[in-house]
Symmetry: C2
Subunit: 250 residues, 2 copies
DNA sequence: ATCCCTTATAGTGTATACATACTGTACCCT
DNA sequence: AGGGTACAGTATGTATACACTATAAGGGAT
């Protein structure tokens, strides 16, 4: 399929949403800045109707904020907001792990998770870890978390986790790439992988409290990465999400 | 202000949203049923543009589900979904209470909460409790929970709590009115009020774990109410939210 | 000089017409 | 008789014109 056809296959609304999200995350639209519908029309090239839907969706996503008198502005986040969002995700993933453990999961449904765990093991075993391996880790890590959440078998919970993780700085892999530039990188990856192993073990043995606790702690690794990366300041380009910070650290 | 003027003061979008929500919660639109935009236009009397926005908002709210090929249908919930949503709210409110306790709150900001606690005390002290008092309890209870959540001083967390609580069966007061018809009513209300007292105490003494645990347990009261009310089956009209149940219990 | 009022402008809210995609049915061909 | 295709009807997707509201700037009066 040609690129042109591929572009045609998605709706104008989705296209506008992608374009605007890109503008926001890349920092070309600054936090606090108002986005008028006409401006968004200019940016995206589609008409006001789909632009409006895209803006509503982005508000829902948490990237935009409604202005009381109408219209939208780019949402600004404090560092505290980001840390809280990470803690929030950890809490929800902890609940998912506890549900899985307490309610029990079949050996069969645990298989894909264990397989994923093995793949991650292969990746973190390298020393030093190549940039490609980091990239592969991000993908596989996202898969691991998705599988884990599904084990909760709770549609309302999964819905909320997906929602929180949609924030660019709250997803499980948000700051993994930033790690790749840090000296502590390998050690942190090994710690994270140990958490993964523990949570699978806990679920298998129906240890709800343990499963919940380790997932909460797991999210703290992301918080730690964030702080390290900000302090080092060297590889901010690996964390586009920080464009949303209220008083930019750059 | 006349009713006509009041109606004019809200946008067509909001009006459509209210009308459709009412239709869904009252059961006139059944779970799984598709809502076409034209049908929604007939129901609400506004044109397709605001109807569409209202449908998107209701999807976001969780009452509707997008159909892959386009359009929306009324979402159906299982009893498990409802119980999970209640647990979810409890977990989030627990996190809010822990944040408040760990980070500390000023005596001044705790005042409104204590005042609210006192008002609730007055209400539950009556025996038997009048229906009016039950109704007042619902209002005051909602206020207490809102104040508590604000003490977390975490915008991302409050946002999620509000979102989850917007589900008609997950809010802190969802099944309080149903209680009013139960013999166990007064006892359950007293238990709930004790939870309220404990969480304030825990926050004051910066006992994060205790504050979190009691809010989690607190949400279980709602789950208990739900089960009791369903078993008794006598006052289902007090719980309009149950219109969303997949295989209706009626 | 300052404050208020008027006016112009830009932006959102709404309605509607047109385009396109999907679905179900009926008819025809095999 | 069964299956496939074509067509009609209905749905959503999109563009645009018009209406109304908020806001800011400029001019006049005090």
């Amino acid at each position: 399929m040609s690129e042109r056809e591929a572009e045609r296959s998605v709706s104008q609304t989705v296209r506008a949403q992608l374009a605007l999200r890109d503008m926001i995350l890349s920092g070309r639209l600054r936090p606090g800045e108002r986005i008028s519908e006409l401006q968004a029309v200019d940016i995206t090239g589609v008409s006001r109707t789909p632009v409006r839907l895209a803006l509503v969706r982005l508000e829902d996503e948490g990237l935009l904020q409604a202005i009381p008198s109408g219209g939208f502005m780019v949402k600004a986040f404090t560092e505290r907001d980001i840390l809280d969002s990470i803690e929030l995700r950890g809490t929800l993933e902890g609940l998912a792990a506890r549900f899985a453990a307490e309610r029990g999961v079949s050996a069969r449904s645990l298989e894909p998770l264990k397989e994923c765990l093995g793949d991650l093991d292969q990746l973190v075993r390298q020393d030093p870890i190549s940039v490609e391996a980091f990239s592969a880790y991000v993908t596989m890590n996202a898969r691991f978390h998705a599988l884990l959440n599904e084990l909760s078998a709770s549609a309302p919970l999964i819905r909320e986790i997906d929602r929180v993780s949609a924030l660019p700085f709250a997803s499980p892999s948000a700051f993994v790439m930033a790690q790749s530039a840090l000296p502590e990188a390998h050690q942190i990856l090994l710690l994270g992988q140990d958490h993964h192993r523990i949570v699978v073990d806990a679920i298998e043995n129906r240890e709800g409290a343990r499963a919940e606790a380790v997932m909460r702690e797991h999210s703290r690794l992301a918080a730690r990465n964030l702080r390290l990366a900000i302090r080092n300041r060297t590889h901010l380009e690996l964390m586009p999400a920080l464009a949303l910070l209220k008083s930019s650290v750059e």
